[in-house]
Symmetry: C2
Subunit: 297 residues, 2 copies
Amino acid sequence: MFTGLSAFPLTPLRDDAVDEAAYVGLIERLVAAGVDSITALGSTGSYMYLDRAERRRVAELAVRSAGDVPVMVGIGALRTSLVQRLADDAQEAGASAVLLAPVSYQKLTDDEVFGLFEDVTAGLSVPLVVYDNPGTTHVTFTDELYARIAALPHVASIKIPGVPPVPDAAAERVQSIRAHLPDTVSIGVSGDPFAAVGLGAGCDVWYSVIGGTLPDEALAISRPALSGDREAARAASLRLDRLWRLFREFGSLRVTAAIAEHLGLVAPDSLPRPVRGLDPSTRAEVARIADALHIAR
Amino acid sequence: MFTGLSAFPLTPLRDDAVDEAAYVGLIERLVAAGVDSITALGSTGSYMYLDRAERRRVAELAVRSAGDVPVMVGIGALRTSLVQRLADDAQEAGASAVLLAPVSYQKLTDDEVFGLFEDVTAGLSVPLVVYDNPGTTHVTFTDELYARIAALPHVASIKIPGVPPVPDAAAERVQSIRAHLPDTVSIGVSGDPFAAVGLGAGCDVWYSVIGGTLPDEALAISRPALSGDREAARAASLRLDRLWRLFREFGSLRVTAAIAEHLGLVAPDSLPRPVRGLDPSTRAEVARIADALHIAR
């Protein structure tokens, strides 16, 4: 489960409620494309904006619609006891694994971050993915903190925020992380523009934003990368370079939502306020890029 | 209401539930000391760690226990619609004003921050304090954004994160902010070590962490500062300098909770996990400082 392409679907809203029909459509699209796993309620799935009941329902819909594809569910929240309840909910919904980012309001010490993972893993019966996403959590992991947490029971994978853009430096970085981890813990790259380089550098899995909405385009990167054809992976990633540039400028969530809205996969204005969609001119640019790439529903 | 000392009480937990008796005790202590207002559920009151029902209950307890002292209630949350519900709850509980920080998970643009305040103020019937707290919200306000938001209905005060430490520079900074605001909007300093300088520089109110737990010590700073005796205010602040140093190193929340626990105002381990209290040696230092300052319950 912790190899290949893990696709992170959006959780589209409509009039401030989860658009269940559109969500099921997104999951079915991922299953049809043949992704290796689905991660519901990641950052792309707006988990931090949804309440416990909404998150439980989304987890149930994802598992029910995913067939044989394993579903991981994001359980991050600010308070440890809520994370524990969300873990229970996810497991009851049938999640194959859970994903935990140490989200913060008060800045957390390393010991507090470790304590969170210790408290949560103590009650788990499924594997856990450590979600290192400093841009949203404002927690910076050291390799030593990775090592402490990876030694806890149930920890199966670490989602790292990216790798250096040069292949040799990326390989060195991944080897350095791997030296701190048990052999049983996989390393997953995130930051979609880094995926081809990261998988080529030895990452086992790509935790992918774009894979949740454009799974064919993501598989065109992950499959050659993981079968050793780095050149084909690089070319498939380069093909999406205009999207990666928009990701860097406007954030992957807003751009991906604009793509999904353009393709009619979700209704307009699908993001949780106060987050808003792209301005009309950038939205038009997204549409032009999608059309030029022959991306269709 | 938006002048003088606004005291921010802790919301103490006990076994992961709000310790209501201890909370009421904190509020009554503030009333007895004669603070000018009480802000329940600020950052010091751990608002982001509590659920809607807990926050509603805390707001009710604060208003009920505060007698004639006006109570402001923090309504920040990640999703606009939840902020709106929390505003309704606070107003039904009898809050005299609400306090709103634009907390973020996805990084917000200035237009999104403005949109949040626009959406929330549209449904208010009490005044609103804009809560600028970049260390926890990861939103950076410009003076132009202050101006746009201050022009919205119901906006009554802005809580700024601090001022330059030198009096002349502080006065210049406060004047520059004031030039962007309507005359009806007060400016409040936060960051307790900056309070004496900030009030001397023309701030109208001190939104105070320490004032929620040690109101006498805070009033010893705010009263002379606001009556023009800057030297006495400076001396009263300097007296707490060892506390301010610990605030900078460990965060004001952990240090203030340690003081309240040392004084027996709240039970041990009063912070919401994953946030933990100070380590034993720093906790012992806090106790020594409190004793040396003759701080008592």
